[in-house]
């Protein structure tokens, strides 16, 4: 199978500001030798707690985090070797959906303008073609054509996230990075958005890098899971294996900590696996 994304020995370090006049007081290693592969048309979930380095991995793939070491290939092309125009061209193939649709949409731009931005800047599409593509995208994410002329503040959280998804898939990217795309949404809306992502994946053959701390959400959407802890990947494999029969102690701790309606048999007590009703 062809890999859409391959990451080898990725290292990301940040300068710690401090000391006299803000001179560098040291460096902190946020990502420490991470390897990843995403097969075409599949979803890899990168899970971990805050500070585990999962967002830094995403930022490195997007070229917006300082890369201390490692190589990144997108569609067989080495991103880390590209410069200038070729680097910019490669951006159409990887797009991002952020956690907060409210913060990631320009409040002054109409929905159609927001979705048209990548069409204009990455694909240099003309007006007429752009308008048609915007309507097509709105339909794909389940929004009525009348949304085109609205402003973000006239939309609900779920509708805004649909707009953010439409913008992300506008340039027909091979890879979409979703950074906690449903964690600011209510559960009833979250389920709709997860179903939308699955639908878009099967219709458009998209690949997702899905970053999340929510293992329930990950189980619903991921084919493969990589568990990050302190900058390293501690466990990886098919979602069904990692989440049902975790082999690493840290993964077990994470899964055990998820509060769930089904785990509880009486007040405040989570039973062991043996005590679970069939």
């Amino acid at each position: 199978m062809t890999d859409v994304l391959r990451v080898e020995n990725l290292v990301v370090e940040y300068e710690i500001r401090g000391g006299l006049f803000g001179l560098g007081a040291g460096r902190i290693r946020a990502v420490d030798g991470v390897d990843l592969e995403i097969e075409a048309g599949t979803t890899l979930a990168l899970v971990g707690e805050s500070g585990s380095g999962k967002t830094s991995v995403a930022r490195a793939i997007l070229g917006i985090a300082p890369l201390t070491g490692g190589r990144i290939w997108l569609l067989g092309q080495e991103l880390t070797a590209l410069r200038g125009r070729a680097r910019r061209q490669s951006r159409r193939n990887v797009q991002l959906v952020f956690q907060q649709p409210t913060a990631s949409l320009d409040p002054r731009l109409r929905i159609a303008e927001t979705i048209a931005e990548p069409l204009r800047h990455l694909l240099r599409m003309r007006d007429q073609a752009r308008r048609e593509r915007v309507n097509e995208l709105l339909e794909l994410v389940g929004l009525d054509a009348s949304f085109a002329h609205r402003l973000p503040r006239q939309l609900s959280g779920g509708q805004r996230q649909r707009v953010a998804i439409a913008r992300a898939i506008a340039s027909s990217p091979a890879l979409v990075i979703c950074d906690e795309p449903t964690s600011s949404l209510d559960v009833s809306v979250q389920a709709q958005i997860l179903n939308l992502l699955v639908k878009l994946q099967s219709e458009l053959g998209l690949s997702f890098l899905f970053i999340s701390h929510d293992l329930g959400t990950v189980r619903q959407i991921a084919d493969n899971v990589a568990v990050m802890h302190e900058g390293r990947i501690v466990e990886r494999g098919p979602a069904d294996t990692v989440l049902a029969r975790p082999s690493h102690e840290y993964t077990r701790t994470l899964i055990a900590a998820v509060p769930s309606i089904d785990k509880v048999t009486r007040r405040g007590i989570a039973p062991t696996a043996a005590a679970l009703p069939p």
Binding site: E49, S50, S156, G157, G158, Q159, D186, V187, S188, V189, Q190, A191, Q192, L194, N195, V198, H213, D214, L215, G216, T217, R219, Q220, A239, D240, L243, A244, T253, L254, I255, A256, A257, V258, P259, S260, I261, D262, K263, V264, T265, R266, R267, G268, A270
Partner: protein, 331 residues
């Protein structure tokens, strides 16, 4: 439902309105709640359901532009709604206290943790400085803070999220209150830290006989620590009862839908069950049942007459025409 005599806090018929440019909107309608000693009652609902407004109205801490338009709140033998602001201030922080979602915003950044934990004791209980510090350190130790005396000298920014939330809980428990209102106390925390804080909360409730109102959007959190749960939708309680009865055998179609769409770690469902539409805005509440526009079971009666909470099991009540017991079903 009949008022239980041993409820330490009993609220009846609370209604809250908020000002909009054109009119006052009712965001909480006729909400009744009881908190018992040694029990955690979870108030669950989605964004805009009115759960935070309900909690704030109990201690009349509603934000500017919101007002309490009806209802009574009894704490022990006192009627809080008729207390003067001065007497109410004596109650807040001593007999009822509150823990908020974001400890960094709730703690004062320019005061030490020690100052903030001892302040309520010095103000409400007239405890001297040294005595207060000893008590504060003991409390922090009880809440799992390493080096409690050292922590007293620290500022909020020097602590991790979990430790800050412990400090905030220590502030709330410093005067040994009867009632604790906790608004999404673990939402900003990682799951492993959340598990620690919830365990700690449960332990304090059991040991002190504290009555807790836990406001949360997370049904898993409610299932894990609460004894009873009340489900709010668009400003009203639509179902309430013992936590496992409500979450395992939900009666109201909203609770059924909500429980169904929580993503589970143990099974993959394709597609994930959803509730149609979005959360009802309080400005568009229909006549009849407020959930009817999104309800897959709605019948004609649902759109005409608003259902009231009726018993569907021991201590378990639901406001639904379709799933009510046979004798109370809609005509």
């Amino acid at each position: 439902m009949a008022a239980s005599p041993d409820a330490i806090l009993a609220a009846r018929g609370l209604s809250v309105e908020v000002r909009t440019p054109t009119r006052w909107l009712r965001v909480v309608r006729d909400v009744s709640l009881e908190l018992n000693r040694g029990e955690i009652t979870a108030l669950v609902g989605e964004t805009g359901s009115g759960k935070t407004m309900t909690a704030l109205s109990l201690i009349r801490l509603l934000p500017v532009g919101a007002r309490l338009t009806g209802g009574t709140v009894r704490l022990g033998t006192d009627e809080l709604t008729s207390l003067s602001e001065k007497d109410l201030m004596k109650t807040r922080g001593s007999r009822i206290s509150m823990v908020f979602q974001d400890p960094l915003a709730a703690l004062n950044p320019v005061r030490t943790i020690g100052f903030q934990i001892t302040e309520p004791m010095r103000v409400h209980l007239a405890v001297g400085g040294r005595e207060a510090r000893t008590r504060a350190a003991a409390l922090l130790g009880e809440l799992g803070m390493p080096d409690p005396f050292g922590a007293l000298r620290r500022y909020p920014h020097e602590l991790s999220g979990g430790m800050r939330q412990r400090a905030l809980i220590a502030v709330a428990l410093s005067c040994d209150p009867d009632v604790l209102l906790a608004d999404e106390p673990t939402t900003a925390l990682d799951v492993t830290i959340q598990a620690q804080i919830l365990e700690l909360l449960r332990r304090e409730v059991d040991q002190r006989g504290l009555a807790v109102l836990l406001v949360t959007h997370d049904l898993g959190v409610a299932a894990l620590v609460a004894d009873r749960v009340a489900v709010m939708y668009a400003g009203a309680i639509v179902e309430s009862g013992p936590v496992l009865d409500v979450l395992r055998q939900p009666n109201h179609p909203y609770t059924r839908g909500l429980v169904g769409c929580v993503p589970r770690v143990d099974v993959r469902l394709r597609p994930l069950p959803t509730l149609p539409g979005g959360v009802q805005g309080v400005w568009e509440i229909p006549s009849g049942c407020r959930f009817a526009p999104r309800c897959p079971h709605a019948i004609a009666a649902c759109r005409d007459v608003e259902p009231q909470l009726e018993h569907v099991g021991p201590g378990h009540a639901s406001a639904c025409w379709v799933f009510a017991p046979a004798d109370r079903r809609a005509p």
